[in-house]
Symmetry: D2
Subunit: 340 residues, 4 copies
Amino acid sequence: MLIVMTAHAGKAEIDNVVRVVETLGFRAHVMPGASRTAIGVTGNQGAVDLSHFENLPGVSEAIRVTKPYKLISLDLKADRTVVDLGDGARIGDGSLAIVAGPCAIENSKQAFAIADVVQRSGAKFFRGGAFKPRTSPYAFSGLGEAALKILADIRKEFGLKIVSEALDDTNLDLVEKYADMIQIGARNMQNFTLLRRVGRSKLPVLLKRGMAATLEEWLLAAEYIMAEGNYNIVLCERGVRTFAQHTRNTLDLAAVPAVRKLSHLPVIVDAAHGTGRSYMVTPLARAGVAVGADGLMIEVHGRPEEALSDGAQSLMFDEYEQMVREVRQIHDVIARNGAV
Amino acid sequence: MLIVMTAHAGKAEIDNVVRVVETLGFRAHVMPGASRTAIGVTGNQGAVDLSHFENLPGVSEAIRVTKPYKLISLDLKADRTVVDLGDGARIGDGSLAIVAGPCAIENSKQAFAIADVVQRSGAKFFRGGAFKPRTSPYAFSGLGEAALKILADIRKEFGLKIVSEALDDTNLDLVEKYADMIQIGARNMQNFTLLRRVGRSKLPVLLKRGMAATLEEWLLAAEYIMAEGNYNIVLCERGVRTFAQHTRNTLDLAAVPAVRKLSHLPVIVDAAHGTGRSYMVTPLARAGVAVGADGLMIEVHGRPEEALSDGAQSLMFDEYEQMVREVRQIHDVIARNGAV
Amino acid sequence: MLIVMTAHAGKAEIDNVVRVVETLGFRAHVMPGASRTAIGVTGNQGAVDLSHFENLPGVSEAIRVTKPYKLISLDLKADRTVVDLGDGARIGDGSLAIVAGPCAIENSKQAFAIADVVQRSGAKFFRGGAFKPRTSPYAFSGLGEAALKILADIRKEFGLKIVSEALDDTNLDLVEKYADMIQIGARNMQNFTLLRRVGRSKLPVLLKRGMAATLEEWLLAAEYIMAEGNYNIVLCERGVRTFAQHTRNTLDLAAVPAVRKLSHLPVIVDAAHGTGRSYMVTPLARAGVAVGADGLMIEVHGRPEEALSDGAQSLMFDEYEQMVREVRQIHDVIARNGAV
Amino acid sequence: MLIVMTAHAGKAEIDNVVRVVETLGFRAHVMPGASRTAIGVTGNQGAVDLSHFENLPGVSEAIRVTKPYKLISLDLKADRTVVDLGDGARIGDGSLAIVAGPCAIENSKQAFAIADVVQRSGAKFFRGGAFKPRTSPYAFSGLGEAALKILADIRKEFGLKIVSEALDDTNLDLVEKYADMIQIGARNMQNFTLLRRVGRSKLPVLLKRGMAATLEEWLLAAEYIMAEGNYNIVLCERGVRTFAQHTRNTLDLAAVPAVRKLSHLPVIVDAAHGTGRSYMVTPLARAGVAVGADGLMIEVHGRPEEALSDGAQSLMFDEYEQMVREVRQIHDVIARNGAV
């Protein structure tokens, strides 16, 4: 931490800050400057609450330096994490992971038709919502366990690994029973009870970024999970909320290199929620692969205009197939240049 | 809903949209314009998924008109809701409700000292966290049931009504046992499982706005609660996330008149989280009362620099007392002018 | 400045950073910490470009400490600035300055009718646009010099001080000829050529905050003006752009205490542009006074529904008069409590 | 436009709205709905000021439908615009345009060394600032005409087309004298005087998006230029301001397909300002090409740590050369798939 004094702070105020720093067990380094004094604080193992200092007389501001996360950090583990679901379904090993499927599972026929297209595209992960968080209490909120049973049938039939979202403990017990990977949605990124619960799960976790989450908050949400013992986490950038109105969310692709610089965890890009408009999905999926993500999450629907939720951001079958062709070619470029 | 066609859309495309509208059971009103045609859609009772239309050939955009909320709306109930906790502790009746106390309950002595100051200020509500949502898994997260017991003692000793946050079902059972009002925090504003659960509680609910929630999303969160049968809801503006760095959040006081225009629910302002800096709390508390809020939420702490959480935004006892004096005088002005 | 090394940085990398710091003529203070080393840099008179350091091997981040502004700072001048236009028209002296008038001057009759209401309310400043920055090239952009002549007539007739916006050098020559105070609008807050030009004007300047300006950028825009020799500057908070859709801008009232803490310049609040909706103007004007602003900017229009620009945020005459009554009573409370 | 009445609005209020609509010369289409009435308005050639209606009794809201831009729209001109500077330097023809160079021209030697690398990479455009908009009045603001002379020498020596920014009329005269393309920076995107002036220039214009500009505002800025007769405009996405702190700006790549859907103008991506961090430039440049942009703007500097401005976001020579190799391969994929 660095404590910056005001220009008018005198010796008594500086000494008082030093005293408080030392009382808390840290070491103070006084640095007189041209116009004001700064005091470096070392010796703190974790984050110190800045409020201990900001209100002391003569203090202008306190600046945090030590990062509050540990386990997810490259400082702790320099090798990149590979999340391996078996049967060649891996995220983070340099291959391009594609997680595709409908927003919500609506019925068996719809789901099987989509799974067939997904499997033929070479994707190894199938997504489909059984429990849907909906802004309105009157909107379709998923088929629940019935959807999970359909998903389990798809796994058996097509060999795809199943990714499905859980909203609470009850959901989670069911998702664990039927699926291969638990999705934590943007609205639950700081549902700390749920994070702790998936931290005790044996299944890997796909952790979406909250719609107004800073990079640090997102990484700390992963830290919550990891602190409970679950190391198999995949981060998913899905767009953040801004003033922009041409998209539902503003996809923040710079988050991918930013995560890479700090963490060993894999990171994928959700081009469906990240845009909210089907005509943008393929361009942004290409961009997500080009920026160096470990994979994509994509919504596919045979007839988007009939989808019970999020149809506006789903791809038709032929659009999906063309998108996969394009992103694989881009991934080849990336891999050839050693940029994944 | 209004469907706007592109300038180049022809009769066939317009007829097709009309057909889809009618197939869904609605009525289409074709309005040819100077440069393009618009199609009004009426007959829908609730919100229609725009995605049914946005991808149809020749459609430029679909604009939603019908509001998706019902129960919280002034359209349904023109009289303003008064949330009454008994013993004169009311929110929404034209008086100024003050909900004050420490961020977290740390020990009995601290809590009693603060409660004494709060009660003497004339406030009728005491807040104190037993379960704290913390960004980092390594930060102090509250004393749990021990804190709730202290709060129950405070109610007995000082006659203050107790407001405390619940993060999940287990917490909630305990909060219901000891407290008078359940707080749902910003991070849980779209924790729909929790919203449904408090919707079945007998206690009133204080619903904070999410840090990136639109007005509509916030009102729909209240609608979730009300749809389960709990009509005693108080909204709480606590700042939103923006690019601004001089505050922790940007307090959006325009939300108060905006809520008033649409809903019968009372709305209060949290000047502590809304700023994150103690020197701003009193000015923004005054502004919150001046804008017409039904009350304030304030953090008080005898020695903020020793607080285990959020000390930077707490008021000292004398600052709190002066703040209460000022806001009461402003509330008198507001009341005298009929502007509450 | 503080340079934070990565956890893995070794002695050679630390020594190299120290060498670069010293080469630039500064002093380096090495502070070994529990997990990483930080290096304090002192001796820099102004802001140092962080990029000199961020890309050096072993550097994790560089954190700026020295503030880049000087003249506008309380560090330089502890007494608050009072901008005095003569005849008792002052901003920053503890009185409540009201700057009111139509968005744009449309004709002499309209302007005189409004000026009559403004003067009778006790306000001392009249605003009216002669040159309007409009998002669309096809929208009404002001009457130009003809409007300024009307404004000069109003000054003569009503004794009000005239505030009007300039968009470029040519405008500015005219505004200087006819008005008493130059307004620099939000879109021009970083038009540095214009800032330098008004810095050489003899008239005081009303500097609006840019729609996405940080506090620091806003203060530096004032620093540009002051660096040219014009010390008579009034800052004006007018709302910032956020995701919120219930207002045109999100009025950031916390900017008022934030400016107070750093600068000696007066600051007023524009409740018209800050909300964009007439029903919100009075509540937010009250809040602006309650938060401690030195004054208000308000749009008044006899018949807002006929205004050629910005009618949606203008007050009717009776609304304006009631608003003035309310804010004066609130200002009395503020003044009585020594909180201006 | 669509006017939505409140649920309680009666026949008299509806009739009144219809009367006002017709008085303004438009046609009203009354559409009674399940819970409220909407009134479609047609016949308006351009944008109507919504404020004419929003304050009428019984009106809930007015929703604009007609787009306010004309000339830049695909509705007007279905063929994509190609901006051709001669000698094969084109933007918008399906090739990948690379505009590279230092942030600011610092001296002849630096500029020539960079130009040599840029030319050998196959890029056809050289950028370099002569006039720099700087947030602080004390920062380096460019060499002015001396820099332009160096740029003219570079054109002669390397055959590169010169792109340089103008901040005001005086600058612009000089930029027109020496350069091939005028850059309008983010801070001047709504400097309408400057937009009109470049609209009368014979040189093509590179128009950067403002840091908080909506898509519509950006397109209207281009409309300003085009309305004066200059049709050679290239749009440049350079990131927007958000709460995110891991980048200087949040690069909004969805703006590229969004522009494509509405306008015939070419659009390029500035990966330097769009991120502000050199380690992110190459990944985001790849993403910009993958999303379908017509080109890239890139900052190159031999020794970024010595750059007088923006060194933190510049590439070293070898980083630049590798970046060009990667983006060309991605552009080949895009072109092969017909996705530019």
